[in-house]
Symmetry: C2
Subunit: 339 residues, 2 copies
């Protein structure tokens, strides 16, 4: 039933050896044009498809690029994936994703699985791998890109941005707008969120406005609903918060909704700033200030660098900082304080 056409069938039909057919597929320049054409025709006619397992086994390498991300179901990574996809699309490489679920241990296991199949390259998220993972990656025989963040000690290549600096900028913006009791709302608290908290803290310390009690975090993963809840938690503390810097845009949107519900004027009584600048931030009412990050570009750059390295093209800058852009909008545009 499953009468797969094999390479040898093609060879037989074309009246050549298997070696020649294989060469047509791998190194066509080694085969004379006439024979090449004939073989290609036969391949087409027979609908031949190489068995990837056999190919991988024989050549001791694969065309698989492994991608380890903490979550598939997260807008941020979805955008990165889109970028990766758009480039990988017209490359000979197959993408294979795995979900570390924000766990270093899981990451380590997946890494072992991936490396055991000798991938052509690997993209991993962040810079907080476990020592064991780092060791695995360091001795891996394929190029590797770390994405989402930049840091001092790249395993191989890196493309990301500084979460500390971007959060610092956002917080400083709120300070600049005249807010004085700026809270931090954080969900999930993965390493990148933590660094954003750092940037926030630093900015407020510099302004002499830091108050630890204004930090509200939860290990739960972020949703719009959670934004509503966290704002509620913050308000319960009665700390006179007059602005919130949110971990991400989901929370910020929730905060906005909750403010509306509680009749807290935004931005007059409560400034709001999100992170990532999801598309909807610009069209909310009021529009929501956010830190734009270049997620799709991050995906594109990372896989492009990876492929360049796989194909032995020189990569000029192995560590790329994509920066960020503060998108100041209505939600942080404080009008003269209501006396």
């Amino acid at each position: 039933m499953d009468a797969r056409v094999r390479l040898s069938d093609v060879a037989k039909a074309a009246g050549v050896s298997s070696a020649t057919v294989s060469r047509v597929l791998r190194r066509p320049e080694l085969v004379s044009p006439g024979v090449r054409e004939r073989i290609l025709a036969v391949i087409e006619e027979l609908g031949y498809f190489a068995n990837p397992a056999a190919r991988a086994l024989a050549s001791a390498r694969t065309n698989v690029i492994g991608i380890l991300i903490p979550s598939l179901t997260n807008n941020v990574f979805a955008d990165v994936l889109r970028g990766i996809y758009s480039v990988a699309q017209d490359s000979p490489y197959d993408l294979q994703f795995a979900n570390t679920r924000y766990s270093n241990l899981e990451e380590e296991n997946l890494l072992r699985v991936f490396l055991s199949q000798k991938p052509a390259g690997l993209i991993v998220t962040g810079i907080d791998q476990s020592p064991a993972s780092r060791a695995l990656l360091k001795q891996a025989s394929c190029p590797i890109v770390q994405i989402m963040e930049t840091g001092d000690d790249p395993i191989d290549m890196m493309v990301g941005f500084s979460h500390v600096r971007s959060a610092h900028a956002a917080t400083a913006h709120l300070v600049g707008q005249g807010y004085r009791r700026i809270a931090f709302l954080g969900a999930r608290m993965d390493p990148r969120t933590r660094r954003r908290l750092q940037g926030y803290s630093r900015a407020l310390e510099e302004a002499g406005l830091f108050d630890e009690r204004l930090i509200v975090t939860t290990p739960r993963s972020s949703t719009v609903t959670l934004g509503c809840e966290l704002l509620g938690l913050l308000l319960e503390k009665e700390l006179n918060a007059d602005a919130v810097f949110c971990n991400n845009d989901d929370l910020a949107l929730g905060v906005l909704f909750e403010c509306q519900r509680r009749r807290i004027a935004t931005p007059a009584e409560m400034g709001v700033c999100g992170f990532n600048d999801l598309e909807m931030m610009a069209v909310a009412n009021p529009s929501i200030t956010s830190v734009r990050t270049f997620r799709q570009e991050m995906g594109e750059r990372s896989i492009r660098m990876l492929i360049d390295r796989i194909e032995d093209r020189p990569v000029k800058a192995p560590v790329v900082d994509l920066g960020f852009e503060l998108m100041a909008r209505q939600s942080s545009q404080r009008r003269p304080p209501p006396l």
Copy 2:
């Protein structure tokens, strides 16, 4: 450098043949307990990992479950994937995703690629495969689940719901609330969207309220911003629309934002209904009526059925209709019409 431990190394170290080691891995019950323990210890000690290519080649099958979805970057599929993941997690199967990008042609190609590696099973989206794809799937030697929709002619198994019926219910709800000029806003117009449009049309025809001009669609993919724009387009037509049924929740949220901006009262002057019931619908202001679909459950059920079939366990119901639930909220709760 890449001194991979092979099966034969394990065999040598344990003083047994390769066959026995292989058996410990595949059919441990065939090996005596003493030997089994010893071999497992050696495997652990040497850090042995099977080469998946060799395994696949030798056994003429893989433990790969292929998943074909139209988009990775879409909340709806993200939820489905989460469901699939949560089940596949503790199974021996590897998931492999591919993105058909809403193209039948692309789907066909990916199918060929997948089938060429003899996957253990396949999950495909929707019921509108090309004839060629259907043929490929029909003669595939692995179980297959179609997800997202139910239909009359399953290739193998199916889990989804009726887009026609759910859209019909939503539209009927708006009619029941007293809206009379109900518009349809549709983005991307993939087959499922088209069927929702059908359900909408049917419901309005039944109520004698159908007006083709109230249908506004675009091939662009849906975003919140697009919801704003489509509402703008609708209003320009000056058809006295008093409600919109949106293709999905993104559009609905955009409509809500745009209404706020234009000072159109929701739900009094404009009823709004979305589709999918994303988490944020419940916390928007006003909260947005939507059709809840069971996306995560869809993922879970589909992969569970698939695995059952792969492992030769009987699947009682090969076609599962998960239904839907109309979540009537503020955005469609019309107060007495302003005279």
